[in-house]
């Protein structure tokens, strides 16, 4: 049991982060705080991808000359033989996927902030209950 928690501690923190973000989105009355919650929520998922890509005793996935400079004998050996042992490298794909997801998240935040500015100009408030009163 303890091994399970120690082996997956990154995920436990990230799931906590995920829930914190969702909690913020659902319960906060202020629309800016909702947006912050949404960003925390998105960050949690991005970090889960990155955490899932990491491995023990693995290095960055760059094959260039001798791998000896990374201080890992196995990598150096591979580089010398020209064969690639996937277990020695961190999986680069989730990182690249998350670069895209970060860009998407930034775009969403930008649109959301633009909407919030418009809402504030039209109603003079960003508090959800006040907003509902002024809308009706």
């Amino acid at each position: 049991m303890l091994d399970f928690f120690l082996g997956h501690y990154a995920y436990l923190f990230l799931v906590a982060l995920f829930v914190v973000g969702l909690y913020g989105v659902v319960t906060k009355r202020n629309l800016v705080k909702k947006l912050i919650g949404l960003n925390i929520f998105q960050s949690a998922i991005i970090l889960i991808y990155v955490a899932g890509a990491s491995k023990w005793n693995a290095t960055v996935p760059i094959l260039e000359g001798s791998g000896a400079s990374y201080g890992d004998a196995g990598v150096a050996q591979e580089a010398a033989h020209g064969a690639i042992e996937a277990a020695h490298y961190i999986n680069p794909l989730p990182h690249t996927l998350m670069l895209t997801a970060i860009v998407v998240g930034v775009a969403t935040t930008g649109v959301a902030l633009a909407l919030l500015i418009t809402i504030h100009r039209r109603y003079g408030t960003l508090d959800e209950s006040e907003l509902l009163e002024r809308m009706s």
Partner: protein, 506 residues
């Protein structure tokens, strides 16, 4: 040569137009509309040709940059994708022609960004349909969503609030999809749909696969407005400008339905979601609840656009119901309903736009017989759309419901058959209310509008003809005629195209 590139052409052309429309619009205002129209015309031609090509020659695959699929991204045009692209491009072309006048009235001075965002929206929709890669699908989903938020925000005073609410829900939905994808990726080590479909049967028992699938279904359910995840829809459709709603309402939720069909039937095996885990039943019951809820709420609405928005929730329920039945007839009904409903909803929302431009409101309680005198053709198109929504032959709506009922009988799901029939009655209640007001309610004469009720029956003939401009009337009539034609040729559409989509094992 060009045939192998067919899957890529449509989204790339729309993306190019999304770039060119605002840029050229800076130089000459009118050019942005022309660019959008040109891109839509070319893409409609390409989409119809690719539908023909796929039906005759089979699936077309395009490997991006020459990378072989599990490593590179591939775009796939199979019968389902080609069909969806054809629906999206044809409906959006008609709506685009119509939107010009509406934009001039409702979004004065904002036409250049409007057309740019519309092109971006269509690029996102078409990208979702053709991509063969689950992460690429996420990116296009967000592209189309961002465009949707912007389109909804451009509207009446409360529109930005509705858009923000949708942004929160939509982003949470997309994030759930992304989170689900992480589980699927970790279980299979691939993002390519065909590759995942080959690997998944070996790991169906794993908890991770089930969690991943459920997270993805919840995420897509929000985009599709599947009951009870529909909360964003009514406000968004009501407050957005008529031009925006006419783009989003007929196509937007259908794309969500498409993604659900693609993942449940093509990435996963049909037998998995219907028998190994009881997901099909859950979708079916939620869809049935959504059908009844949407119809009942539509009856309670006074505003035409809001009524149509609630009716959209019910109509999406039909598509979910067809999918949840998990048999070939149900799938045929669902896919046919995607096509029919796109035409019906586009037609009805165009009529709502016509009304708002001409008489300045779309409040059902203020409709009277003067309308049929003022705008006879618009109201005729509305009548056809309404009859089709109720499901009266030979309009298109009857046939998709027919297949759904057959699917329900085939499955032995008698409650679903009852739900479909009851909802048709409910549809009749809320559409006949509008038709009754339009055709039978005595018109208020000019005096009465001033508060003088001495002359109860004004002479209808005294009202001047105020039919909308041809650029708005023709698209409305094209869709109205299309509804009848789709109904008449439904057997051909089903046997030539939709039967090809039914995957093995369903």
């Amino acid at each position: 040569m060009i045939d192998q590139n067919l899957p890529v052409l449509v989204p790339v052309l729309f993306l190019l137009a999304a770039l060119l429309a605002p840029l050229l619009g800076q130089w000459r205002r009118g050019l942005s509309y022309l660019v959008a129209l040109l891109a839509s015309l070319v893409n409609t031609a390409v989409a119809l040709y690719s539908l023909y090509y796929v039906v005759v020659n089979g699936i077309v695959r395009h490997k991006f940059g020459g990378w072989v699929p599990p490593i590179g991204i591939e775009y796939v045009l199979d019968p389902l994708a080609a069909f969806m692209i054809a629906v999206v491009t044809v409906v959006s072309l008609v709506v685009l022609v119509h939107s010009r006048q509406v934009v001039k009235v409702e979004l004065a001075g904002r036409d250049v960004p409007f057309y740019g965002v519309v092109m971006l929206l269509l690029a996102g929709f078409c990208g979702i349909v053709v991509t063969g890669d689950l992460f690429n699908l996420y990116v296009f989903l967000e592209i189309s969503s961002l465009a949707t938020y912007a389109l909804i925000a451009a509207g009446e005073k409360p529109a930005p609030v509705a858009a923000f609410r949708y942004l929160i829900m939509g982003t949470i939905g997309a994030s759930f999809y992304l989170f689900g994808l992480w589980f699927i990726y970790n279980m299979t080590g691939s993002l390519n749909m065909a590759d995942i479909a080959a690997i998944l049967p070996g790991v169906y028992g794993e908890t991770g696969v089930i969690i991943g699938l459920l997270l993805m279904v919840v995420g897509i359910g929000i985009k599709m407005a599947l009951f009870p995840l529909h909360g964003w829809l009514p406000d968004a459709y009501t407050y957005a400008s008529s031009a925006s709603t006419a783009f989003i309402a007929p196509i937007g939720t259908k794309i969500g339905a498409y993604v659900l069909i693609r993942i449940l039937l093509y990435v996963f095996e049909p037998g998995y979601f219907s028998s190994q885990i009881p997901l099909a039943d859950v979708i079916m019951w939620l869809a049935a609840a959504g059908i009844l809820y949407g119809s009942v709420m539509a009856i309670a609405q006074k505003e035409l656009k809001r009524m149509l928005a609630y009716s959209s929730i019910a109509q999406v329920g039909y598509i979910g119901l067809g999918l949840g039945l998990a048999n070939p007839l149900g799938l045929i009904g669902a896919v046919l309903h995607v096509l029919n409903h796109a035409f019906m909803k586009a037609c009805l929302f165009l009529v709502a736009g016509n009304l708002r431009v001409t008489i300045g409101h779309s409040d059902i309680s203020r409709f009277d017989a003067a309308l049929r005198r003022k705008m006879p053709w618009t109201m005729a198109a509305f009548t056809v759309g309404a009859l089709s929504m109720i499901g009266i032959p030979p309009t298109a709506g009857f046939f998709s419901k027919w297949y759904l009922v057959l699917g329900g009988i085939d499955r032995g799901a008698w409650i679903m058959v009852v739900v479909i029939l009851v909802s048709s009655l409910l549809n009749a209640v809320y559409f006949f209310r509008v038709l009754e007001n339009t055709y039978f309610r005595p018109a208020l004469s000019m005096d009465e509008a001033m508060g003088d009720y001495d002359h109860p029956d004004a002479d209808i003939e005294s009202f001047p003809r105020e039919e909308v401009a041809p650029s708005m009337l023709v698209p409305t009539l094209v869709l109205g005629t299309g509804i009848v034609l789709l109904g008449i040729f439904n057997a051909f559409i089903v046997s030539a195209v939709i039967r090809l989509m039914v995957p093995a094992g369903l």
